[in-house]
């Protein structure tokens, strides 16, 4: 067996992260109190907009080929959408969470 020559495909590393994160998500989400399920939805919405990193890459491409212009266009619109979600999602979650109060005694 030639161990040294074998290289693990990066896909496998990504898959490991993914599978472990699914399990982490499973346990973390079950521990969320049902009273906060609506903020849970709005905050998951906000964090899934981390897709913004892809939008930033697309909008920032150098103008090297005919496809670059298209990529910039798509990236620009994606960036707007992602930012609506990031700002809207986090702020509306903050607004909701600020309303949850304990009994004042």
């Amino acid at each position: 067996m030639e161990h040294a020559a074998q290289v693990v495909d990066p896909f496998i590393f990504r898959l490991s992260i993914f599978v472990l994160a699914v399990f982490v998500g499973y346990f973390v989400v079950w521990s969320v109190t049902p009273a906060l399920h609506t903020p849970l939805m709005s905050v998951t919405n906000a964090i899934s907009s981390v897709i913004v990193v892809g939008a930033l890459l697309a909008v920032g491409v150098g103008m090297v080929s005919s496809g670059s212009g298209w990529a910039r266009g798509f990236g620009f619109v994606a960036l707007i959408f992602a930012c609506v979600n990031i700002f809207g999602g986090f702020l509306v979650t903050q607004r909701m969470l600020a309303m949850y109060k304990k009994k004042s005694k």
Binding site: P10, R14, I17, F18, A21, V22, G25, V29, W30, V32, T33, A35, L36, H37, T38, P39, L40, M41, S42, V43, T44, N45, I47, S48, S49, V50, I51, V52, V53, G54, A55, L56, L57, A58, V59, G60, V61, G62, S65, W70, A71, R72, F76, A78, I80, F81, A82, C83, V84, N85, I86, F87, G88, F90, V92, M96, L97, M99, Y100, S104
Partner: protein, 465 residues
């Protein structure tokens, strides 16, 4: 910035996102959790800008412009949206995540060199697979969420739309999608890419239109899940751990919420997806036969009885949200508490149009969260309560779910309001609820019906007190 450092920072962002969800385990830690989420997002954005800075001045201008436009719109929406509109807002936000996934994939397809996945027309096969999955799930999340938004905001009827041969059409669409994904991987042609997008857009519409209004809590959770998987697909394409972790978190979060919602309705996920519930078909199981007269009461009667009670449990439902009655309701609760009455709130998991909808509305009206209880925690207390005050809820209190084996909702966990001394129902009419099922509770001797708009009736009760 070195590739290792940026990969590490993305990991930090991913961990912060995990902590932001962890914070939601209690209202006390939730605000800190939200802050972690914001910091994570800031780190992810800063890392991208530092490791792959926009290529030229024009690109910088585009970035700043897009952030200003998007951020401005988002901030205004977040400030202005009424809490009763949260379900449609969340649906709208899901659609944006879906569309962003499609657009990012398109950007990667036309400029693969910027994403380190190959050169134009010569993209790595594995990246094409990941990309096409991301784009397909993103596109169906987009149109599915748009339909859900239209239904939730009543811009479109909540009734299920049943097309002939819809299952066959859907299967054909899915097979065609798989075919073109293989096509894209083999040829790398733009035609295949856009065909996948169009097919998935159509599939999203067809998947959501047959699902009725009462099943919306499941739909909205399911779309939440899809938006996560779409993000994860793009994360694989970019090899970005923050995106992969977040996609997995959001995907499993939505899946768990869908499960909780299905369980609370005693329906299988498959039957919700197949749709058609909440139409005329469900009406058959209702009692209908011997129609006894319901006992109608006035606001004065209700006020008098409640003031002399020892324990009142309030059961809010979608009708409260529609009538915006939560503030009047809290006022009523305050007066009762001053009179020495014990007041509690009981919430069914599917009350309203999304998970946790009622809790947010009560919190908005300043009801302390430690007076609000979930079904399994409060169901045993109805027997000791003098009054169950049901405002705008119906199906979730229907005893047929426990007693009538022929009822379409038989087996669904319900709030046992009938065990209380007196049940007061605020309803607009004696009509059946969303599931189209008659509620035998309306005609029982210890039930008092208060017919009218939830907000007006509650205000009248407050005045009469």
């Amino acid at each position: 910035m070195s590739a290792n450092l940026s990969a590490f920072l993305y990991l930090v962002a991913g961990v912060l996102f995990i902590l932001s969800l962890r914070g939601l385990s209690s209202p006390a830690s939730s605000r800190q959790g939200n802050l972690f989420g914001m910091i994570g997002m800031a780190i992810a954005v800063a890392t991208t800008l530092a490791s792959h800075p926009p290529a030229d001045g024009v690109a910088w201008v585009l970035v700043i412009l897009a952030v200003a436009i998007g951020g401005g719109i988002g901030a205004v929406i977040a400030r202005r949206v009424p809490m009763t509109s949260m379900p449609e807002l969340v649906a709208a936000f899901h659609s944006l995540v879906g569309m962003a996934a499609v657009l990012v994939a398109a950007g990667a397809f036309y400029a693969p060199e910027a994403f380190d996945i190959g050169t134009p027309g010569n993209i790595h096969a594995s990246s094409l697979v990941e990309m096409s999955l991301g784009v397909a799930i993103g596109a169906l999340t987009f149109t599915g969420s748009v339909i859900a938004f239209l239904k939730l905001s009543a811009r479109m009827s909540g009734a299920p739309i049943i097309l002939p041969f819809r299952h066959i059409i859907n299967i054909v669409l899915v097979l065609a999608l798989v075919f073109f994904i293989f096509g894209l991987v083999r040829s790398g042609s733009a035609v295949d890419f856009w065909l996948i997008t169009i097919l998935a857009l159509a599939l999203g519409v067809l998947m959501i239109i047959p699902i009725g209004g009462a099943d919306m809590p499941v739909v909205i959770s399911m779309l939440n899940s899809y938006s996560g998987w779409a993000a994860a697909g793009i994360g694989f394409t970019l090899g970005n751990s923050a995106l992969i972790i977040t996609g997995a978190l959001v995907g499993s979060s939505g899946a768990i919420l869908s499960y909780i919602m299905c369980h609370a309705m005693n329906r299988s996920f498959i039957s919700v997806i197949l749709g058609g519930f909440g139409g005329e078909t469900a009406a058959a199981g209702g009692g209908g036969g011997e129609q006894k007269p319901a006992k109608l009461g006035s606001a004065d009667d209700a006020a008098f009885i409640m003031k002399n009670a020892q324990k009142v449990i309030i059961v809010p439902g979608y009708g409260m949200a529609v009538a915006q009655a939560q503030h009047a309701l809290r006022e009523m609760g305050d007066i009762l508490k001053k009179e020495g009455v014990e007041v509690k709130y009981a919430i069914h998991p599917v009350a309203g149009r999304m998970p946790g909808h009622m809790n947010v509305l009560l919190a908005e009206a300043n009801v302390p969260y430690d007076e609000v209880f979930e079904l399994e925690d409060i169901n045993s207390e109805f027997a000791q309560a003098d009054i169950a005050f049901v405002i705008g809820a119906n199906d979730v209190t229907n005893p047929a779910a426990e007693e009538d084996k022929t009822s379409p909702i038989y087996g669904m966990p319900v709030l046992q309001v009938w065990k209380a001394g007196t049940v007061m129902f605020i309803k607009r009419s004696l009509a059946s609820g969303y599931a189209g099922i008659d509620n035998p509770l309306f005609y029982r001797d210890n039930t008092m019906m208060l017919l009218g708009d939830a907000k007006k009736v509650t205000e009248n009760i407050v005045k009469a007190m």
